[in-house]
Symmetry: C2
Subunit: 382 residues, 2 copies
């Protein structure tokens, strides 16, 4: 397996307003995206990869930074030549979602209506809004139907939303470490993180750009909370346990334990590059996702409108979106007689497992895409 | 069962310096405590109740507030006439720990060496330090041996520490919803909470008293995080689920979900009355507790020095200090041929279950104290 090598993002501008679930619309926006591999003549080999909370369109390959270091895509172990999602066969698209701070139109950008950064006035966007924007990008790229739409965590919600909003525009739906809706506990963690940001004096009601400051304290705490939920208790015990950084208790409020050092480092790093308004928006999109809501909570009825085939994957130690949530979707799909494959991977790494090397997991996805490819090669995809 | 009725705290002043685990000592301090019931002539019926994070010496009975409202003790369902720990039989002592903000000497009090509030200079105290201070109170009250030392959560750690530091000073050790040490995940949650406080601009390095402010934002976030860990996922789902406060999504960052409303309310309330320095101190005491540390992590060797009989109770949905942690202690005690009773209560309320009404739980404790009382009545306790 070789890497894709150096990749470059592209930008597509859209003039037609995008109606949003919240009742408003986004007048004018851009989507930043990357593509890997080649679209075949029949346009049947395109796969859309949707990103999760702090990721972006930069799925695979690498950029060279100013210092000459490689900035590698977040799913480079999954996507590339000879990799489970093989870019020698598939034309893969990674797209940055609206509201992000990594390229597509978001709170840091200038609102054409006011000439100032959107800040807190950027509309609250939903998973469905993102999917609608992605569909317009697909239109612009001439892709009528994806071979697959795929994502992990919040990305998996987007894949699921595709199967519901555009049932004929994807042949396969790959939903990894995801859930059909957040639990009260999930929402609780998101809200504490938001409160840390919203009450940081440097947040300035979301218009901190104008004040030349960043609500780093809030972002840092938000990220630390999030990080705890991405790792499993076991994995944390294994990696850090009660290890002391300096071999003994300090009897102060600096760093005693390695886990403290790790989390603070993660929080510090995150607060240097992530936008606070984006964090708020993305956690809201997570909280709001609940396609069964308009079907009285009946997930089977909700999924009756899907036409895709499904692959779902969950991880045993994921306590954020546990296997129970995936099984619920599998059951609802089976009730609708959809063709569905499901793998529950025994992995120690909690929610983060979906981003990590795990032979059984990657083999599962590879095998699935082999089948998708056979359909395409046999010309069954049209 | 009747209530104890109106109770009053008492204060005991100590002139002899208390040596601390951190290497310093506390020169001059007071302990605030309450007692219920009567000490018998043989002084064999005393029970010490140790408190957890945000509780105090006010275990049972009530105070009348300025508004004429009852402020009821935190374990009033457990302690009182005819209750599981029956104050018609036992002489029960609740004592506020050093570093608290509810009476005993803490960061809000004046440091006699400087004439200013201790603030951040209050020494980091440990579970063992608390137990040493409690032992001096027992000395002053003329109690050589407790019928039992009892506590839940952090209170259970104190009971366990009693059995190790003063093995002959308690006949029974009652450890509820506790653990012999925090896990990396437990420490992680504590550290995020501390970081929220330490980075609140109103914290002023712990000397906020002099600035006439309180780091409410940090305390509020700390409490919200803590609260999530006290409730079970199931219980939160049951009580709040995805219920919306106003029946529809607001598409903003106010309150959408009932769980948000609940947690923010809890955080607001807590930040009105709890001291930030106390919060830091108590979470550190939790993190540092690890009696097996000096025995190379061998809990059985650690507990070899105990002489008490034990009751341990855990709750199935407690994910903060899960039943596994209690079973570990039970196994280590059994390995030492200690007499130990253990109940794993199937309760939906997570860690908080130890404070709540649960017939099987309260009956378990009642039955245990019936046995303790029979020993006393038979004169076997001397």
């Amino acid at each position: 397996m070789t890497s894709i090598g150096i990749v470059s993002p592209q930008v597509m501008h859209f003039k037609e307003p995008l109606p949003l679930q919240g009742g408003t619309s986004l007048a004018d926006y851009s989507l930043t995206y990357e593509t890997y591999g080649k679209l075949n003549a029949d346009r049947t080999n395109a796969v859309l990869v949707c990103h999760a909370l702090n990721a972006s369109h930069h799925v695979a390959g690498y950029y060279l930074t100013d210092k000459g270091e490689k900035s590698i895509g977040w799913w480079d172990n999954m996507v590339g030549p000879g990799k489970p999602l093989d870019t020698d066969k598939f034309f893969v698209i990674g797209v940055n979602n609206l509201g992000s701070c990594f390229g597509s139109t978001g709170p840091m950008h200038v609102n054409p209506a006011t000439g100032k950064p959107y800040g807190a006035s950027f509309p609250v966007v939903t998973v469905e809004d993102w999917v609608d924007a992605q569909a317009r990008l697909a239109d612009a790229l001439g892709i009528e139907q994806f071979a697959a739409v795929m994502g992990g965590s919040l990305g998996g919600m987007q894949a699921l939303a595709w199967s519901l909003r555009y049932p004929r525009r994807l042949r396969h739906c790959v939903v990894i470490a995801s859930t059909p809706k957040l639990s009260a506990q999930n929402i609780a963690f998101n809200d504490v993180a938001r409160q840390a940001i919203l009450t940081d004096p440097d947040f300035h009601g979301g218009d901190f750009y104008a004040h030349g400051v960043v609500p780093k304290r809030g972002l840092r705490v938000a990220r630390m909370i999030g990080h705890i939920t991405y790792l499993s208790d076991d994995d944390m015990a294994e990696k850090f346990g009660r290890d002391l950084r300096d071999g003994k208790y300090q009897f102060g409020f600096g760093i005693d334990f390695e886990i403290e050092s790790y989390l603070r480092y993660q929080g510090d790093k995150f607060s240097e590059y992530f936008d606070a308004n984006t964090y708020l928006l993305i956690t809201k999109a997570l909280d709001y996702f609940d396609p069964a809501r308009e079907f009285g909570g009946d997930l089977a009825r909700t999924l009756a409108g899907t036409e895709a085939q499904f692959l779902l994957v969950s991880f045993t130690t994921d306590w954020r979106f546990s296997p129970v949530r995936s099984r619920e979707m599998v059951q609802a799909l089976v009730n609708n007689k959809r063709r569905v494959s499901y793998a529950e991977i025994d992995a120690p790494h909690g929610h983060d497992a979906f981003l990590l090397e795990d032979a059984r997991y990657l083999r599962t996805v590879r095998t699935y895409y082999d089948r998708v490819w056979q359909e395409i090669a046999a010309g069954d995809a049209a």
